[in-house]
Structure formats: structure tokens, C-alpha cells
Amino acid sequence: MLKISDLKSAILLKGLALLALILFPLLVRNTSSVYLIRAAGTVGLYILLALGLNFTLGCAGLFDLGYIAFYALGAYTAAIGSIHGFSFWFNLVAAVAVSVSVRLLVGISILRLRGDYLAIVTMGFGEITRLTFNNLDFLTNGPKGLPRVGESIQAVQIFGYDLGRDPSNMGYYYLILIAICVAAVLSKRLEDSRWGRAWVAIREDEIAAELSGLPVAKLKLLAFTISSVFAGAAGAIFAHWERFVTPESFVFWESILIVAMIVLGGMGSIPGAILGAVLLAGSPQLLQASSDFFSRILGAGFINYRYLIFGLIMVFVVTFRPQGLLPSKRRRTELEELRVQS
């Protein structure tokens, strides 16, 4: 039974965490740690992506290895839009629209495949998208990336305030923070909805779900498509923040990394997806940030070992906690029930 006091403390905890996140840039802004704001923003974009993929992979259990392609579609749409003089808000909507419509078309044709076959086809699609951006010089300027010489991607303007003016990246940090809050609330509402329960049913046993009268094909397509809303939006923010996009940012490796975030955090768990993103996207940066401390203990050159350590962390976590760091409540109760029965 969930007690009222538990609920209260959970809300209090979340409120405190949010407060800390809001205050954080103001505290480090004038210190030498100002780069942390930028690092946190980058991690934030990964959180958005992980929350998005969580619908496909975490909730519905569809193994998608080409998710980064939809981030790329969002980023390139926004970049091209901005070069032609459209505002961030218009580009944001356009990026989401492009990302969603492509994902819908892809989903209609490939979602009847299952498991590893779905994985390989989405991987193929991801690589096709990247290579196409790489080769369509007239549209995307190929490997050199957008913008071309003489063009530029505009910074985000909110009510006339230019986010690019503050070199500490604080404006973008808050923009991404707001986007994450919206995404998290949306994810939570969807997870608890009829759709959310249906997705979990499909993930656990597709045939049983079908026999219980669920429109499995439609529901899978829905989860698959909703994922791209987040990817498209994150892509638009990325393009307007970096003001430079190349195909290099959207390699297969990135798709794998996002899958790893979700599995590491716990499939279908929203806090899990966030934690996974923070750990995997943040740990190379954190290891870099703390390298002064570690190089004093372990000797210079430690900084080069950060990816090696990152790999070791992945193997250890998954070996000792294969259900993920923060498994979803639903799954945890299932596992506990099983234990009681057996």
C-alpha cells in the first residue's frame, strides 16, 4: 500500500531536485566550473532522447537501433529552416512534423518484423539516413555540414531575448530543462494511460495481448511514432544551440548509446531512463571534470582512460544488476510476486 506520507516525501524530493537544478547554473556561472552548464545541457538532450526512445523500447519492447536518425532529421530540418530565415518556434514544429511523418511511414512498413530483425532494419534505416545526409551535397552540404560559408543558423529567441547572447549557455540550459519537465510529465501521463498499460501488455506477451483484443499493430505504431516527437524536438534544440550540424553527430554508435541508457536504467521506467542518460552521457564528462582529482592519485594521463572506465562500468552494472538501476514499479512488483509464488 502506498502511504500518504510516502507520496508527500516523493513530491518533496522531486521539488528539491528541481530547485537544485534551477539554482545550479546561477551558482557555477561566475566560477571556473562554468563549462558544467554546457555539459549539463548536453546531458539534458540525451535525457530527452532517452525519454523518447523509452516509449518504443521501454514500454512497447520494440528493439530500435536507428533512433538517432530521427534526431538527425529534426536537427537538419531546423538547420535548413533557420538558414532560410524561419524562427526557432516554426523550426521546432517543422522538425517534429518531419521526424514524426518519416517515423510513421517507416513504422507502417517495418513494424511487422520482430526482435533482432526489427533491430537490424532500424539500424539499416539509421545508417541510410546518415549516409544520405552525408551524400546529398545540394541540401546538406555533405560531410562539411550546415551552415555553408556565408549562411548561419540563428540562436533561439524567446520574446526578443537572444539565448545565444549569454556565453555561459544558461538560456539553453533552462530551455532544455523545461523541455525535459514537459517530456517527463507527458511520459508519466502516457505510461499510466490505457495506451501505456497496453504497451506493457504487448512487451510482456504479444500473442496474449492480441488475444485479449488489443489492436497490437496500431498500438505498436503509436509507441514507435510518439518516440519521434521527442527526437525531433531535441534535434531542433540541438541545431539552434550548436548552430552547426554534420552527419558525424548522428552515427550508429549514438543509437546504441541511447538503447544502453534505457536498459541500464531499467526498461520502461521513466526515472530509469533519466538516470541512464545522466550516467552514460554524463560519465565521460564527469570523469573529465574530476580528472584533476584522479590524476593526482592515479598519475597523469588518467584522462585518456575515461572511455575504458566507461566500458567497465557498463559491463559491471549490467552483470550485477541486469534488471536496470531503477526498474519500473510495475516490473518490480511482477518480479516480487514471482518470487513469492516460487
Binding site: 512498413s109 518484423l113 533482432d116 530483425y117 537490424i120 552525408n134 585518456n304 566500458g311 559491463v315 534488471q323
Partner: protein, 299 residues
């Protein structure tokens, strides 16, 4: 022109086939995509380079020297692959299906960075152990390097076929691929058989790594990724888990890639796209791959 493309395609396809066999053997038994296989391939190439660097006598020894390089590199990669299985996959065998994938990615990062940090982060020239001489076949030319690649792969494939079909261990491997639990109940030590499967798969990957190094003339810590992904594509194309399928898929992919590079406008830029487009279409029309069997869904 056509014959020339065919020869180049077969050469490339032979390398893909060898790598694809490593994926398919493992998948056949454990239903696991061994993402670290591309790193096994890369380390195979580095072991080959190491042997050639420390024993320059291998250059003078002709075919015997070449065989030594292959045997040592295959042994090294095979043992490495077996070790990966023991550390990263075995503890996770009875867990959620995606956990071993994450662990494989972790291993992949570790191995790449180990080479990057402790061996070299630069591209290394792979010594020319086979001096290329050209033979002409009608309008086309076949060089001795391509001949060595084709010959080596064919020998290895025949050996694999004999091993799986004729030996007792091979029979046990087939039994495990059919049904791991039932095989264990019949007294087959499934852990040992899985270990051997990784050994064999890794050895083939190591040989492919050396061939890859010889073919392109240079090796680097991240060389495994692209051939790895393409060989995996080839394995799925042929029907993953199916040994003949992996060989067939590898050759088809190699030939199509070379043909796309040769015949399409701007083809060398688009050849990878063509490979993936074909893969998607094959899977949409025939989701189990060309030679894959349809597995009935169980409730």
C-alpha cells in the same frame, strides 16, 4: 568490366562471409548478437601485425609463414572471444534479452580503448606479405592477393563444414543450436560447447581481420566497426543462425556492394546505402532471410 566487378565482389564477399560466420554461429546457439565480434576482428588484425613485426622470418618462409601468421592470429582471437563469453555473456545468460547486448557494447568499448591506449592510436601499415602480381583472365585481372583471400576463406569454410558435420563436437554444437536445454539433458556439456563455438567464431573473425588488413593495407583501432556491421547484415540477409546462409549472404553483399560502386553514378558514395536498402527489402519480403527457417511462434 563485369567479370572484374565479380572478382572484386567475391573477394570482398569472402571476407564478409568469414565475419558473418562468427555472428551466425553464436546466434545459432545463444540467440545473441555478439556486438564485440568487430573488435575480435580488429584484434585479429593486430595480432597478425604483431607476429609479422616480431618474426620477420615469416616473410621469407612463403606459404608456411603465411600459415603461421593465420594460425597464431586465429588462435589469439578465438581465445579472446571465448574469454569475452566467459566474462561478459555467461553471467547474463538467464536474464532479460537486452542485458548481454549492453555488456557486449561495454566490452567493445573496452577493447577499442585498450588498443587505442596501449598499442597505437594511429593507422598502421599492414606489411605486404603477399606481393601482388597480376594474372589476366580475359579482359579482367586477378591479383595474387585476391587469390590468397579467396583461397584462404574457402579452405576455412570447408574446414568449418567438416568440423560441424563430421566430428562429434560438431554434432554436439548442432544439438545445442537446436535446443540448448534438451542437449544438456542428453549429457552434452553446454558450457563447453558454447565456449568452443566462441573459439571457432572468433578464430574465423581473426582470419578475416588479417585478410582485411592485407586487402586494405592498413589497420587502426576502430577498423572493426564497418565490416562488422556489414557482416552482421550479411548474416541476417542469409538467415541468421544458418551457416550456409552466412556464406551466401556475405558473397551477395560483397558482389552487390562492388556492383553499386561500379555502376551507379557517384556509386562509391552510395554503395553502403545500397547495401542497407537491399537488406531492408529482403527482410520485408522474407523476414527470416534467404535461407532462414520460419520458426513458429510459441504461446
Amino acid at each position: 568490366m563485369f567479370i572484374q566487378q565479380l572478382i572484386n565482389g567475391l573477394t570482398l564477399g569472402a571476407i564478409y562471409s568469414l565475419i558473418a560466420l562468427g555472428y551466425t554461429l553464436v546466434y545459432g546457439i545463444l540467440r545473441l548478437i555478439n556486438f564485440a565480434h568487430s573488435e575480435v576482428l580488429m584484434l585479429g588484425a593486430f595480432i597478425g601485425l604483431g607476429v609479422l613485426t616480431f618474426f620477420p622470418a615469416a616473410f621469407q618462409a612463403g606459404p608456411l609463414g603465411l600459415t603461421t601468421v593465420f594460425v597464431l592470429s586465429m588462435l589469439g582471437s578465438g581465445v579472446l572471444n571465448m574469454f569475452i563469453e566467459k566474462c561478459a555473456y555467461r553471467p547474463l545468460r538467464h536474464t532479460l534479452s537486452l542485458a548481454p547486448l549492453i555488456s557486449a557494447i561495454g566490452i567493445s568499448i573496452i577493447l577499442q580503448n585498450a588498443v587505442f591506449l596501449w598499442i597505437t592510436n594511429q593507422s598502421q601499415t599492414f606489411p605486404e606479405i603477399v606481393v601482388p602480381t597480376n594474372f589476366s583472365i580475359g579482359p579482367a585481372t586477378l591479383n595474387s592477393l585476391q587469390l590468397v583471400i579467396l583461397f584462404t576463406s574457402l579452405v576455412l569454410m570447408v574446414l568449418l563444414h567438416l568440423f560441424i558435420q563430421k566430428t562429434k563436437t560438431g554434432k554436439a554444437m548442432r544439438a545445442c543450436a537446436d535446443d540448448l536445454e534438451a542437449a544438456a539433458l542428453m549429457g552434452i556439456d553446454s558450457n563447453q560447447i558454447i565456449g568452443i563455438t566462441f573459439l571457432v567464431g572468433g578464430a574465423l573473425g581473426g582470419a578475416a581481420g588479417v585478410l582485411n588488413g592485407m586487402y586494405y593495407g592498413s589497420i587502426k583501432y576502430n577498423l572493426g566497426f564497418l565490416p562488422g556491421v556489414k557482416a552482421f547484415t550479411a548474416a541476417v540477409l542469409g538467415g541468421i543462425g544458418n551457416i550456409q546462409g552466412a556464406v551466401l549472404g556475405g558473397f551477395i553483399l560483397g558482389i552487390l556492394e562492388v556492383a553499386a560502386a561500379g555502376y551507379l553514378p557517384n556509386g562509391s558514395e552510395w554503395k553502403d546505402v545500397v547495401a542497407f536498402v537491399i537488406l531492408i527489402f529482403v527482410l520485408l519480403i522474407r523476414p527470416t532471410g534467404i535461407l532462414g527457417e520460419k520458426i513458429a511462434e510459441k504461446v
